[in-house]
Amino acid sequence: MLGINTQALFGQLLLGLINGSFYALLSLGLAVIFGMLNIINFAHGALFMMGAFCAYFLLTWFDLNYWWALVLAPLIIGAFGIVIQHTLLRRIAGLDHLYSLLLTFGLALIIQGVFLNYYGSSGLPYAIPTALQGGTNLGFMFLPNYRAWVVVVSLVVCLATWFLIERTRFGSYLRAATENPQLVSAFGINVPLMITLTYGLGVGLAALAGVLAAPINQVRPLMGADFIIVVFAVVVIGGMGSILGSIVTGFALGIIEGLTKYFYPEASNTVVFLLMVLVLLVKPTGLTGKAA
């Protein structure tokens, strides 16, 4: 068991990177929403699941394939997110974090319950698009083309989001608005609209991850619930609200989890939380977080 096979190790590292790209994409959305709006969005997993279901519905009801879903699902679910923000979350803005956590947690349970009721727990099939079927033999492992695609998309989207928030004018307004909303609106900027759009963006990222996951996982009502706890751990380790921190931690944790699956598979579901405890003990603000 301890005779380490380098080929297998490379394989596990690559797989870790692939899983990490989901963690990164999801934790990025969470970090954007928390960092900019101070909302702990527990509905993120449910919205991720809705993204996958949206892809399924687009395919079966409207005959719109994967590529359409990749564009449309984030828009549709993002719009749904905007409705949630406008009708519910807006009302508790300015209250303690706990309120948004409880509200979104309740929402997540309701959304999951509705889907479970109509579609059951085992889920629905969603095939890999023909253009991305098959794979490449890398020598040390067989890499399905679809997984390579997932890593690429995820990296591009993560970097684009980081650029949008950290390097553009819109991003600087947004960051200013989270620091001091009154002052920013005094300059004539529509802060509530910006906040609504930002929530929509975070939700859209979750839905995009859902579409990417649909061909790998089953399209299941509980697919988000399985992910969300790990993703929260990623966000906590990376430092709540830090965009770059959550991206890097997402990929890193995917790799660590992958290695655990090789060396001690029984612990692969817990290793992330063990790390979370360790990080919190040493650096309570997370790896990249600044002290409040």
Partner: protein
Amino acid sequence: MLRTRSILMFSVAMALSTAAFAQDKTVKVGNLSDQSGLYSDLGGPGSTLAAQMAVEDSGLVAKGWKIDVISGDHQNKPDVGTNIARQWLDVDKVDVIVDVPSSGVALAVNTVVREKNGVFLNSGAAASDLTNSQCSPNTVHWTYDTYLLANGTGKAVVKAGGDSWFFLTADYAFGAALERDTTAVINANGGKVLGAVRHPLNTSDFSSFLLQAQSSKAKVIGLANAGGDTTNAIKQAAEFGIVSGGQKLAALLLFITDVHSLGLNVAQGLVFTETFYWDMNDQTRAFSKRFSERMKTKAPPSMVHAGVYASLIHYFKALEALGGNPHDGAKVVAKMKEMPTDDPLFGKGVIRIDGRKIHPGYLFEVKKPSESKGPWDYYKLIATIPAEEAFTPLSQSTCPLVKK
């Protein structure tokens, strides 16, 4: 003289006893299942519906019995399951607990039911321990078990040339039991097991484990898991080119809901063992039609649902024969074992002294998409495992109730 007196006394005793029992015709059925997690499609709300249908079809309500069905969610956690079972048996006066998928929970509930002298009709769990080392005078294990799965699927795959195995095993009681029983069958048939990896219950990504299975060079990858874990593993095995690379998948436990969720494109050709399929004969079709019309998801019954229904039908027959008093669990189960079983879904059978319900097993293969004629038309029968070979022979039983 003596003879007439004893007959007289006997009839007086009979009259008294029926009079006493006549007042006690209240039965409470508790469906303890995974209502919302990865096993909720194969058990869950469908099992509650199956229990309600059994109550309706038993005809006892029309004869003045009062029968209630309640349900609980054990969330696949043994502590949650035993808490609900204790509450039901102590406070809510539940007489019979049905279903209980997830072997870890089932083994825990088995102990509680025995301690409280209730009745436990298990349909959803697989571990053959329920009728071996952990057997109980209060328990009937109805639908299937790991011995059947190993003997059905395991033996068929080894005989077809799959003589080296690597297991992907769910890391709890069920996975361990299934791996153990299948390993025994593989070894007995001249095959060997090259390795195993134990994954946590409810794993969404199997790629790491599949890669390990792939590098083991085993001819067969045995999936000793169930529900969402099995479907994820099968789907991702296709993605990683496991099957096209020459390795075979043996899904040791597969339910119709899993096949539906995978779709025939991915699932075609899988060989697996079940004891019930909706499209077997007129009776199963009639039941399944009534069942799916009342299901929210419109799914036909899984073998677990069928087991809940059939075991309750037999339970009610035993209660009727006893005339009442469902509260002495061991006595009711003894009556159930004494009476031969006969129901529309599993046909004629018996319940053995160890609590094992005996009926045939069926080796099915998933149809190609071109062979499927309509919704849920998924299986073709490739072999029948006769009832006497389907389950652990009593001579090999480790159950203390079996006198040797």
